[in-house]
Amino acid sequence: MIKFKLNGKDVQSDSEGETPLLWVVRDELNYKGTKFGCGIAQCGACTVQIDGTPTRSCVIPVSAVADKDVTTIEGLNSPAGLALKQAWVSEQVPQCGYCQSGQLVSAEALLRSKSAPTDDDISRAMDGNLCRCMAYTRIRKAIKTAAQEV
């Protein structure tokens, strides 16, 4: 049994240690906001934060988060997280929406490390998050809007 914190709450998983964290979060603990896209750490749809660092949960075994803090979109409620969620609405960012949990989780970590990110900072931090609908222009704009609000 593996114990960790999910969005601030103590949780435990009965899955085998090698099970990707993504499926533990989605199917065992029932937080469906985190999505599956590629399974090889290339699309970012499954991004969660482990101790504050954005991580692709599709390739992280659940054993690796024992005793750590995992944050998903559902728990992304820091001032930066809330500002981003609000900016996503004010800038009308999501199209199909499927990538957006991962985008927000990556963007929140960016805003915590850089309060006024440059275009290059944004490109670097967000390049691992594919948006197949290609809502990139608005993602960039909303990150800047949120940065001003925090």
Binding site: S101, N129, R132, A135
Partner: protein, 758 residues
């Protein structure tokens, strides 16, 4: 129009019904069923156990409760276009509803909802009039009821914002619904006579608003097919055969999987509908376990006969067909191309090709299926329910009416989810097991069995006079045709009994340039057709046809030594068949000329640029001649002289899609489509190798990322004309504009998509 009419107007005579049902007001617009009269239909509304579905098939319907809240049902799939918001705004505007009280509901399949499809950028185009009339009829009903309740003359009453006002009296829609006992019907003729708002009186259509689906999508709360669950379900993933068609399973050895905790079994799938040939399905307690087991189950297949087909084979077959003058259906045959050719002083020939491209919707396809109460319930996001239901019925050997598809948000459609084949293996497994099956395709499988954009080959031959003026163009376009396999009933007849063709796969060949001698042949690539299932990929035919047509236009301008915009304008005279038709293409080629002039003005066209940089232009008129959205784009690229790497710095595009219903949603569609254009031009593509697509995941299939996004400068032309489509057309001009810019920067003419030089 033929195709769109087939899809959108299955019922030719429509009736509007309004009736008080369960303390609310039902309003719907559609066809009467089973030979019942309008009166019978209205009466059945007020019966306590009203079963409206037996008498009425609404294409549009909404309810208003005694609090004045309006729920508008949406039979279209939500896949990023915020379609529900746009459609609801059209209804609510005419209805005079208070927008704050409007909500939408995406419905499950039911025969009573009529034909269900979301694609082709058709949603607003095909529904605008119906929705407007339905809203207007609802408003009339409420106005009449209000006049009676207030005891005033009907002519004194006006409706806005959920209220009817007459002089100094007023009554809310909520009160009318609560107090009124309404039962009304309108015939098609009465509906056609209803006054619709002039554009200047609209309060919602064309005005800024926020999309109703966006808050949930910004919180991780939107529910997609992949999120659906049922008690007692098992997880499944398919094992796919080495070829799309003709593979057979000789043997399945799952001994290695048996050691995996949570592995249940591997089922061999027999599909009476023959859509699946040689498939097996791994069943497990969880999805990761199913994946682990799938990696070690050994299946011995006898492969079908396309197991060695390559992209080069498909191109070679395509070019041979294009060069055979006997091949193909005649789509355009104006003037006498042969005579123009014989009289030509000079000729110009070019072959344009596009490679295989994947949909790669970010949510891999999936379905959850349960058999209960004698019905098959399918939980899955889908774009064309009316296409897959008959296939499911034949696979499951049960009537279509016993199959219900429960709709979810789509984690991307782009045409992939027009074909719901992913429901079939899940449904057959659930039937065999007698329990709910949740099937998810892993990414590489989603790519492998994608209904890809077919490789295409186009041959162009122009005849020129002594001054290099174009006297004729012969054009042959060869590709795999989605419609041939998936919806053969939608094939069109070529001219002069030249055979059937897929209109979607040649759209853009019948362009708006006036040419006195012009012949277009649409040819099916039969090797492509039997190797894979050609699919509809965002912007479909124009995605490859316009690549050739527009690039060739740029070549001809160059040949003539003319400016590429001036050259086009000289052919866009809006004469004869290019003068357009009301309402959908009123103005014709003159509107295309207008967007072209507009983009010329807004871009630095004709200006000086640093070396290794260039500007290129192209236009589009997709999705079809019968529903043209007029687009013109100028691309600015820079090419690294050493690495030959191409980067797009900026794209200007002017778009005329008639009335814009939901401005922010329209802009988002334009942004997304243009970046798709960049991605397909420069970043993504694959090829067939051994009968299958080679690049199956993001390690080698590489759509555009944030760091390569160019600046976009988009303008919608102010217009009150009939709204056309928007999800796809802004994609069309992008690749040829980029290729022209690359030529301007380097002098290298690119004829293959995706573009690469050096």
């Amino acid at each position: 129009m033929a195709t769109i009419e087939k899809i959108s107007n299955k019922i030719s005579r429509r009736t509007f019904l309004a009736g008080s049902v369960n303390a609310g007001l039902f309003m719907g617009f559609g066809g009467l069923l089973g030979g019942c009269t309008e009166q019978e239909a209205v009466q059945s509304l007020s019966l306590p156990e009203a079963d409206l579905s037996k008498v009425f098939s609404p294409a549009v319907w909404f309810n208003m409760n005694a609090q004045g809240e309006v729920v508008i049902n949406i039979a279209k799939a939500e896949m990023g276009q915020h379609v529900g918001t746009a459609l609801a705004r059209v209804v609510a505007d005419e209805l005079g509803a208070d927008w704050a009280s409007v909500s939408i509901e995406h419905v499950d399949t039911d025969p009573k909802w009529g034909y269900m499809v979301t694609g082709g950028s058709w949603s607003v185009f095909t529904s605008f009039k119906l929705l407007s009339q339905a809203g207007a009829a609802g408003r009339e009903v409420l106005l009449d009821a209000a006049a009676a309740l207030l005891g005033v003359d009907r002519s004194m009453c006006s409706a806005a914002n959920g209220m009817v006002t007459a002089g100094d009296q007023s009554i809310s829609y909520a009160d009318i619904v609560a107090r009124g006992d309404i039962s009304r019907s309108f015939t098609q003729e009465q509906l056609d006579a209803l006054p619709l708002k002039p554009a200047s009186a609209r309060t919602l259509v064309g005005k800024p608003t926020k999309a109703l689906d966006i808050p949930a999508k910004s919180q991780g709360e939107a529910v997609y097919g992949i999120d659906a669950e049922l008690p007692g379900m098992v997880y499944a993933t398919p094992l796919m055969p080495p070829t799309r068609y003709g593979s057979k399973i000789n043997n399945i050895d799952d001994s290695a999987a048996k050691a995996i905790f949570g592995y249940q079994q591997t089922l061999q799938i027999e599909d009476p509908s023959d859509n699946l040939q040689g498939w097996a399905v791994v069943i497990a307690d969880s999805f990761p376990t199913a994946l682990k087991a799938a990696a070690v189950v050994q299946v011995d297949w006898a492969a079908g006969d396309t197991a060695e087909v390559s992209e080069a084979d498909i191109f070679a077959a395509g070019e041979a067909l294009a060069r055979d003058a006997q091949q193909g259906a005649l789509v355009v045959d104006d003037g006498d191309v042969a005579a123009a050719h014989a009289a030509a002083e000079d000729t110009h020939e070019a072959v344009y090709r596009t490679g295989t491209a994947l949909h790669f919707a970010l949510e891999p396809v999936n379905a959850l299926v349960e058999f209960t109460d004698g019905k098959c319930h399918i939980h899955s996001g889908n774009q064309w329910q009316s296409l897959i239901l008959p296939a499911l019925a034949s696979a499951l050997e049960m009537p279509e009416t016993d199959i219900v598809i429960h709709q979810y948000y789509l984690g991307g459609g782009f045409g992939r989810r027009l074909w719901g084949d992913y429901m079939i293996p899940a449904a057959l497994a659930a039937k065999q097991l007698g329990k709910p099956v949740k099937m998810l395709w892993q990414r590489a499988d989603d790519s492998r069995m994608d209904c890809v954009r077919s490789p295409s080959v186009q041959l162009f031959k122009a005849s020129l006079d002594a001054d290099k003026n174009v006297t004729g163009i012969e054009h042959a376009a060869v590709a795999g045709w989605p419609t041939l396999t998936l919806a053969p009933g939608f094939l069109a007849d070529g001219q002069k009994e030249s055979g059937k063709y897929d209109t979607f796969s040649i759209s853009g060949g019948d362009h708006w340039y006036s040419l006195s001698n012009h012949r277009v042949r649409a040819i099916n690539n039969n090797l492509a057709q039997k190797t894979f299932l050609p699919g509809w990929l965002r912007t479909v035919g124009p995605g490859w046809v316009a690549w050739g047509v527009e690039s060739f236009m740029n070549e001809l301008a160059e040949k003539q030594g003319k400016d590429a915009i001036e050259f086009r304008l000289s052919l866009l005279d809006a004469a004869g068949k290019n003068s357009g038709k009301a309402p959908e293409s009123v103005g014709g080629a003159a509107r295309l000329a207008a967007v072209l002039k507009d983009v010329r003005e807004r871009s630095p066209w004709g200006g000086e640029l640093p070396s290794n940089e260039g500007l290129g232009v192209a236009v589009g008129s997709g999705q079809e001649r019968t529903m043209p959205t007029w687009t013109a784009a100028v691309a600015h690229v820079a090419v690294d002289p050493q690495t030959k790497e191409i980067s797009v710095k900026k794209i200007w595009q002017s778009i005329d899609c008639g009335t814009v219903v939901h401005p922010s949603g329209a802009m988002a569609q334009a942004e997304g489509a243009m970046l798709w254009g960049v991605s397909l031009a420069l970043h993504e593509g694959t090829e067939f190798e051994n009968g299958q697509v080679k690049d199956r995941n993001l390690d080698t299939y590489r759509p555009l990322r944030m760091s390569s996004v160019p600046e976009l400068d988009i303008k919608f032309m102010p217009s009150e004309e009939f709204p056309t489509g928007l999800g796809e057309p802004p994609l069309i001009a992008i690749a040829p504009a980029i290729a022209a810019a690359v030529f301007a920067a380097t002098g290298e003419r690119v004829r293959d998509l995706p573009i690469s030089i050096g």
